[in-house]
């Protein structure tokens, strides 16, 4: 039996692995995709202390190497269930079952979809969830951004420098994001605000050609765009574990700063936990706390 199983090899999970190994506990990290988590999508991190500038890829690589050198074991399997039998927890993957004394769920979050027909089919053919990743493909083209928070506003500003035209589609007439960014966008001649509207249809042949938006009065308008950037938030990856942790209305794992859940021996760390600031520094902080709590739990 492993001492601690960590689900998710993002910044939170890999930091937890470092802390748990330094406390001499055996560690198995289960990862569904590849180590690093969301952060591998950005070429520029400029707000993590000590590193004035580092790419997400390098960040992921460094943390992975550190955890690995300390003796953490990594397996690339998706955790689909946790069974709690008191002192033993069983983590189930499609191929195997693993037993541990304690489990840390560090599964982060994934992009929220719009939920319009053909959205999945058009990912990589015009539909994107990451402006900094895919913006370069829309040089001098028309694009639309959907959303009302800071991510949507910043995406629109980023794209305004690249694309010929940027429509910013928002279902209300006021943004949740910062006023300063809204003001900057208003200065841009190639940015058009499309208020009180939602995307109702994607028109595509092989690639996205236009999107249909419908406003509150029911008026339909077609925007000729080859790119649609969806920035309507992220959803935590906690659904598989709802039997052992409590989720809030938005699906985040309910746990205080100590990262403890309602099940003794099961901890949560990172972006999937209820919190106000979801950043690397808060994710790694959670990793440290959850591992320390898990070690304490095992030793007691």
């Amino acid at each position: 039996m492993t001492d601690i199983i960590i689900i998710g090899a993002g910044p939170a999970g890999m930091t937890a692995a470092i802390y748990a190994r330094r406390a001499s506990k055996s560690v198995l990290v289960l990862e569904a995709m590849s180590y690093g988590g969301q952060i591998i999508n950005t070429p520029d991190i400029e707000n993590y202390p000590v590193a004035a500038h580092i790419s997400g890829f390098e960040f992921a690589q460094n943390v992975y190497n550190q955890a690995k050198a300390l003796g953490a074991e990594f397996k690339f399997e998706k955790a689909v269930e946790i069974r709690d039998s008191g002192d033993t927890k069983t983590v189930v993957t499609p191929k195997n079952e693993y037993e541990a004394k304690a489990v840390i769920i560090a599964t982060g979050s994934e992009n929220r979809k719009l939920g319009v027909a053909d959205e999945d089919k058009l990912v990589g053919r015009g539909v994107s969830y990451c402006a900094t990743c895919d913006g370069a493909f829309f040089r001098k083209k028309a694009v639309a951004v959907v959303g009302g928070g800071n991510t949507a506003l910043e995406d629109a500003l980023y794209l305004a420098d690249i694309a010929e035209k940027v429509y910013l589609i928002h279902r209300r007439d006021r943004f949740r994001g910062e006023d300063a960014t809204v003001e900057k966008l208003k200065q841009r001649e190639n940015v058009e605000f499309v208020y009180n509207s939602v995307v109702t249809k994607l028109n595509a042949d092989k690639k996205l050609e236009s999107v249909e938006v419908t406003d509150k009065q029911g008026n339909v308008r077609t925007l000729e765009v080859s790119g649609l950037f969806v920035a309507v938030g992220r959803i935590p990856e906690n659904q598989n574990f709802a039997s052992v942790i409590e989720l809030d209305g938005a699906g985040y794992a309910v746990a205080a700063e100590n990262c403890r859940t309602k099940t003794p021996g099961v901890f949560v760390a990172g972006d999937n936990r209820v919190k106000d600031v979801r950043q690397l520094v808060t994710a790694t902080a959670d990793g440290a706390v959850a591992a320390t709590e898990a070690v304490k739990y095992i030793n007691s």
Binding site: S34, F57, D134
Partner: protein, 102 residues
């Protein structure tokens, strides 16, 4: 085998005229997920026979990205007899490519 770097100039001879299927990784140096994906493709290129593995940098060869309508990378396209047979977008686990290659 390993993943072979190709260009717009060599695309036809390496991919379109190949008599075995070719898996082409469209990537860029600034793309983190592309870097995460490469070791998987390198592994598969050693494990799989009867398939050629190639990679093309879309910044240096934008014509090919245009030609295949690529708007997000990593984008991996499987070519059979010079035609697109399947396409995978984004970072995906090894099994996904195993399945794609049959």
């Amino acid at each position: 085998m390993a993943v072979k770097t190709i260009t717009t100039e060599t695309f036809a001879s390496e991919v379109l005229q190949s008599n075995i299927p070719v898996l082409v990784d469209f990537y860029a140096d600034w793309c983190g997920p592309c870097k995460m994906l490469r070791p998987t493709l390198e592994e598969l290129s050693v494990e799989k026979s009867g398939v050629k593995f190639a990679a093309i940098n879309i910044d240096d060869n934008p014509e090919m990205a245009d030609e295949y309508g690529i708007s997000s990378i990593p984008c991996v396209i499987l070519f059979k007899n010079g035609k697109e047979a399947d396409r995978s977008i984004g970072l995906r686990p090894k099994e996904a490519f195993d399945e794609m290659l049959g």
